[in-house]
Amino acid sequence: MIRLQNVNKYYYRGEEREVHALKEINLEIKKGEFSLLSGPSGCGKTTLLNAIGALDSIDSGEIYLDDMEISSLSEDARTRLRLNEMGFVFQAYNLIPVLNVEENIGFIMKLRGFDEDVIKARVQELASLLEIDTKLSSLPSTLSGGQQQRVAVARAVAPKPKIILADEPTANLDSKNSKTLMDMMRSLNEKEGISVLFASHDEYVMRYVRRIIEMNDGAIVAK
């Protein structure tokens, strides 16, 4: 489903190439995979995740989503791609502060033009599954970190994207909440068949995923 061929990315400072952040990355992630990009801080996990998520550009190589090459798309096309095909879970939750839980979960579905009834049913379903159904009318600022991250997961999963990209989703959570979140994400992966790619060095995440892609110094060292 996602295929990377000879992907390279550099970070520049002035005219010179300062850091070779991604080195000749070749990778394939299949539909329904529950996988992890792992490695020490600064090894390029987040950079690779952002490149796959069409949030960041690459300097050479190709990234395919199904049969579509996405790294050369225009900014607008990449935006549409993120909206229609991908889900994102961020380390700092990044919920919309002015929307309550129900509105946050249904936000992307609304942007994509789903019917109100469909959105409502889907929100209810996910809220029950993630045990946040009693918080639907609460604003994000009134929720705990664990609850906020579950809302973020529900928001990402709600429109049934092809892949969810989760960058350090447990980094701000304690062990109990990390475990709960991973339980739920794995359950969603199994139930919904949505591919999930994590970037993390959290042991809880490592325990749950089925595939670990190890990175070091910008390169994949083990798949």
Binding site: N50, G53, L55, D56, E75, D76, T79, R80, R82, L83, N84, F88, F90, N94, L95, I96, P97, V98, L99, E103, F107, I108, L111, R112, R155
Partner: protein
């Protein structure tokens, strides 16, 4: 997007209240300020037209530039018959002006002596209302002279004093007579009061051999805003290339210029006020947008385009501006309407500004829906412009950069 904009407005209360309050205040004050400025100009204009000059005046070409008997109007009655049938003309009267020497027992002064129809003149000028001593002309075709108060002072004459007149009749023959001072007037316009005297045309025409002649015809219109249209109708109806039909805009060109200059200074003052309002709204919008940069990064990351973000910010300012304008515009319009119907009374204003032709202490505000509409349009435009820089600022960031913003 509209829903999210509404939520943002309710959530970011500080910015919303500030923008709302500033927009409300600027809309209200702009409408009232312009109504007051236009009102004072209208007041000056109406006052000026009440004093002596007509909304429209009909001349033989050359009279105003050169003057003299060669440029008098002839067949005045026929022209007046034509005027009767023109829509928009409410009344008219002819005047016969001549310049001559008025002398009392000891003093002389050059003066403009005008033959008028006293009854008709009441509808055309404030001469009767400006009476301060004696009586206004009674229409009995006698030799009564109605003298400006400052001219009376120059001549050292009182009521019933005899004043001799020497001038030139319409056929350029020598004209001389003795008039009696029956009344004195004061309009407040010194030049006018110190050089003008009026006499019944019935009497004056005999002296000046000016029957069915006039210096010009003074025309009143039913609606001053239609003056240009009525001017064209008169010009067409008279159908005489030797005649010129002039409106107050030409007749009082210096006053029109003065009002324009006053308007320009008025708009400069209000512009400075708007510059301050504009920057305050822009700064608040910018601070708000800066503090929400991470939120915009999230929105971009999950699928909103930069155009969507612009639409979101546009909706926010649109909702706030519309709410403020919906409340402020009717309030401002009501104030303008109320003080249009019940003019502000400024005691002593006419005395202070008499040299500008102000003959009333009343200052009505102008109430004009078109003016209010463009006032509102300007406030809208400024509010929309104030959001352009914050939009540009936000869209300078790529989604990832915005996401990392703390």
């Amino acid at each position: 997007m509209f829903f999210l904009a509404l939520k943002n407005i309710l959530f970011y209360k500080g910015r919303s209240i500030t923008t709302f309050a500033l927009t409300f205040f600027s809309t209200f004050s702009f409408i009232v300020y312009v109504a007051m400025m236009d009102g004072s100009h209208n007041s000056i204009l109406h006052n000026a037209l009440k004093v002596y000059v007509g909304a429209i005046e009909i001349y033989e070409k050359g009279y105003r530039e050169i003057g003299g008997n060669e440029y008098l109007l002839y067949n005045v009655h026929k022209k007046e018959e034509i005027l009767k049938n023109i829509e928009g003309v409410s009344s008219f009267t002819s005047r016969y002006e001549t310049y001559g020497l008025l002398s009392s027992d000891e003093y002389s002064s050059a003066a403009m002596v005008v033959g008028i129809n006293p009854t008709k003149e009441v509808q055309h000028s404030q001469l009767k209302n400006a009476l301060i001593l004696g009586e206004y002309l009674d229409g009995s075709a006698n030799n009564c002279l109605y003298v400006g108060s400052d001219l009376a002072k120059r001549l050292h004459v009182k009521l019933d004093s005899k004043v001799s007149f020497i001038g030139s009749a319409s056929d350029n023959s020598f004209a001389a007579d003795i008039f009696k001072v029956c009344g004195m007037f004061k309009t407040g316009a010194y030049e006018f009061d110190s050089s003008s005297a009026f006499i019944d045309r019935g009497y004056f025409d005999t002296l000046m051999l000016s029957e069915d002649m006039a210096s010009y015809i003074h025309v009143n219109v039913t609606d001053l805003s239609d003056v240009d249209l009525i001017q064209q109708k008169i010009q067409a109806a008279l159908d005489d290339p030797k005649l010129e039909v002039l409106t107050w805009k030409t007749l009082m060109a210096s006053m029109v210029e003065a009002m324009k200059v006053d308007s320009i200074f008025g708009y400069i003052s209000i512009s400075l006020f708007f510059v301050v309002i504009f920057f305050v709204i822009m700064i608040f919008s910018f601070i708000n947008a800066s503090s929400r940069l991470r939120e915009f990064g999230t929105l971009r990351a999950i699928g909103l385009s930069s155009a969507n973000i612009n639409v979101l910010l546009f909706y926010e300012i649109f909702i706030l501006s519309t709410l403020a304008i919906i409340l402020a515009a009717p309030l401002g319009a009501y104030v303008a309407y109320y003080f249009n119907a019940n003019p502000i009374i400024i005691e002593g204003m006419s005395e202070t500004y008499k040299e500008y032709g102000i003959v009333s202490d009343e200052l009505p505000l102008s109430f004009d829906l078109f003016t209010i509409a463009w006032n509102v349009g300007i406030v809208y435009l400024l509010n929309f412009l104030s959001i352009l820089y914050p939009m540009r600022f936000i869209n300078r960031f790529k989604p990832l950069e915005a996401l990392k913003h703390v």
